[in-house]
Amino acid sequence: MSGLIKKIIPYEIAQGMALTLKVWVKGLFDPFRKQEDRVIVTRRYPKVKRPAQPGFRGLHALARDEKGGMKCVGCGMCAAICPSKCIDIHTAEGPDFKKYVTGYRIEVLRCVFCGLCVEACPYGAIALTEHYEYSGYTRAEFDYNMIRLLENWDKYMGGDKGKKYFENFWTPKKWFFTGGKPVSPVSKIAGGETNAG
């Protein structure tokens, strides 16, 4: 009997209609609600940007030291570990018989954003910033050289941001990231300090 009644009265259809009507009425009052209480989930992207989640892996940057120079020493660990082989480093001997990085190039279009280069770097010299809105018309625009990578650091990792980045998300190197002076992890361990992270 109840089956017959359900057949005559479109019960499920009425249920569905009630649901959509409820959602519609709720959404109508959205302009009077605070952003976080809104029912409608659409984010109007270019106008309302979603903040990058902690540890987001975006565009690359080369970290600066305290004097404003480059932290990178040209050891080539990042290039060695890079699975897509998109890092290209050139070094040369300077007049003071020291090793200088003469060229550092990342082809961002080939990068897979695995973050292994950041993990591999013993000096915390390379970072993946939170910036993700970069686009262009040519491949050349995505061929980042040393100068542009350092500019990225200034633009997206300026101030405390860069320090926090390494401290919070790359914990294995937390204890040797000292801002300006790179300290070898080996000497740290030998000095008796423990991994705080």
């Binding site: 959509t20 959404g27 409608i40």
Partner: protein, 338 residues
């Protein structure tokens, strides 16, 4: 009747035609906007927001875009039929507007202003005839496109429209019996005491479902089922020919909503008990049409599409018997109580 009077008559009719057509086109354009808005809100989205305040200029932007699009006619298509089909659809949908009474006739000085463009005695029959004429455009479009999707869409549409024309017509028979007339103005006058929706509730439910099928709307949108047939019968159409089909579909919705308003919801009559606050007039008519439009959107956003055999069995095995029973009950009521 002198020459001046004839001229005035012609000018008056032309002005009324232009006004009704313009208002109807505006309604059609904004029906698309509100459809997108309502459906979006029901699906927890925002809908059009970018063009104008809350996307209010979106229909105009869409129309301009369609006007400037390239008009492509497939090489293997039947050219002339292909070009005529959207015009037939649009013409058939729009011409029904002529008979609808939007408000009560009144006198403006010496002139008599009719609530409808043509107060003809077979108004209801005219609407039904014109709405089935639209099926020709659909079938011709499907045939002339020389594409399997369009062809299947056209076939489905013809079968569907034929099946649902019967319950649609039968559901309105009860209304005719109560009013004793096919004249839409008389039908509205007959409802000044009680709207037809109360004695004709069965007929109204059949009418609503049949109207959904008649205008190829979800859950009966099989002729243009996008997940199966790309876009159905207008798959091969582009530019303004596509827009004509689109306009015809929404105009069909407007016609069906107006027909429901006139036949079941009392046309321009106010809600009983509200005559003192808001007197009867075109605003009541529009409010009821909007309510029926909202029903269209609401059903579309909620229900999935019927399978084809389900559609047919619903039409023939459920809708037609109910409509016939409604006629029988109305007849009994007429004989014993009225």
């Amino acid at each position: 009747m002198g020459a001046i009077d004839t001229l005035l008559l012609v000018v008056g009719v032309v002005i009324k035609l232009v006004v009704v057509f313009a208002v109807a086109m505006l309604h059609v354009a904004y029906a698309t906007y509100f459809e997108r808005k309502v459906i979006a809100h029901m699906q927890i989205r925002l809908g059009p927001m970018e063009v104008g305040w809350h996307g209010l200029l979106q229909p105009i932007a869409d129309g301009v875009k369609l006007l400037f699009k390239e008009d492509i006619i497939p090489a293997k298509a039947d050219r002339h039929v292909f070009m005529i089909a959207p015009m037939i659809c649009f013409f058939a949908a729009t011409s029904s507007l002529v008979v609808f009474p939007f408000f009560e006739d009144f006198k403006l000085g010496p002139y008599h202003v009719g609530g409808s463009l043509a107060n003809i005695n077979i108004g209801l029959l005219f609407v039904l005839a014109m709405s089935s004429l639209g099926a020709y455009g659909v079938v011709m479009a499907g045939w002339a496109s020389n594409s399997k999707y369009a062809f299947l869409g056209g076939l489905r549409s013809s079968a569907q429209v034929i099946s649902y024309e019967i319950p649609l017509g039968l559901s309105l028979v009860g209304v005719m019996m109560l009013a004793g007339s096919l004249n839409l103005t008389d039908i509205v006058h007959a409802q000044s005491g009680m709207w037809n929706i109360i004695p004709q509730l069965l007929g109204f439910s059949v009418f609503c479902i049949a109207a959904l099928a008649e205008t190829n709307r979800t859950p009966f949108d099989l002729p243009e089922a996008e997940s199966e047939l790309v876009a159905g019968y207008f798959t091969e159409y582009t530019g303004f020919r596509f827009a004509l089909f689109f306009l015809a579909e929404y105009m069909g919705m407007l016609i069906m909503a107006s027909l429901g308003t006139v036949c079941f919801l009392g046309g321009w009559n106010p809600v009983p008990g509200m005559e003192k606050i808001i007197p009867g007039g075109v605003w009541w008519f529009l409010a009821k049409v909007y309510a029926l439009f909202f029903m269209y959107y609401w059903v579309r956003t909620t229900l999935p599409r019927y399978r084809y055999d389900q559609l047919m069995s619903l039409g023939w095995k459920v809708m037609i018997p109910i409509a016939l029973a409604n006629i029988f009950l109305t007849g009994l009521w007429k004989v014993y109580f009225a």
